[in-house]
Amino acid sequence: MDIIQQLFPLPPIPTLQQAVFIPLALFTAVCALLVVLSPNLFHNALALVGTLFGVAGIYALLEAEFLAISQILVYVWSISTLITFAIMLSRGMMFGATSKTNKQAGTAIDGIVVIGFIGWCNFVSARSKLDVSIAVA
């Protein structure tokens, strides 16, 4: 048991903000995945709205409240309605027999892996510098 606990230490108990952040981020991430993976175009648009609300919540958590409201006002009020209008105006794609994706999936995943690597590097360096500086300040 000790070895297991040493290898996989229990995560520290989250603070209140972290406890809010985790479900919010999960919601945003799942919605973002649905935007690109769901085959139904209208579901994509709804998931996009979910993502936008999640991002607005993240802004509120970052104490950028005006930005959170702007996000909802501009994105959810106008951009998502425009997208829905565009979906309705260009019908016929929804039930088409052709595949929803093109043949670039491999390339795209390669690109995302590269971005993920860069992001990981940033993550490590950011944790080593910025978190420490904040802890000092």
Binding site: V74, T81, L89, R91
Partner: protein, 118 residues
């Protein structure tokens, strides 16, 4: 400040739970005997013809487009209102220019017939 948004968060949880509970209660209390006629699309007793996806007119998109312009404008106007008591003459003139340009844009849309709905 985060306490305030905490309240909004808790309120939104309740605001979501309340109608969900009501709908669920209706689902449990009411009878459930669906049949083919009952679950058919309602069209005043007539058989539905064709696809739901009727072609919409592009006017809807145009309204959305004009709305978007003014929506972004609102975002830029409200912070100005909060600081209006501190603004210098230069900022006031530039704000007024901003609103005048918007009015001119509205006039242009009017002249081009984007506001007609018929």
């Amino acid at each position: 400040m985060l306490t305030q948004y905490g309240f909004i968060l808790i309120l939104s949880i309740f605001a979501f739970a309340l109608p969900t509970a009501a709908v669920m209660m209706g689902w449990f209390l009411g009878p459930r005997r669906p049949d083919a006629v009952k679950t058919a699309t309602y069209e005043s007793g007539v058989e539905t013809i064709g696809d739901t996806w009727v072609q919409f007119r592009a006017q809807y998109y145009l309204i959305g487009l004009i709305f978007l312009i003014f929506d972004v404008e609102v975002i830029f106007l409200f912070p100005i209102a909060l600081a209006y008591k501190h603004l210098s003459l230069f900022s006031v003139v530039s704000t007024i220019t901003f609103v005048v340009i918007l009015l001119l844009g509205l006039l242009l849309e009017w002249r081009k017939g984007a506001l007609e709905w018929s």
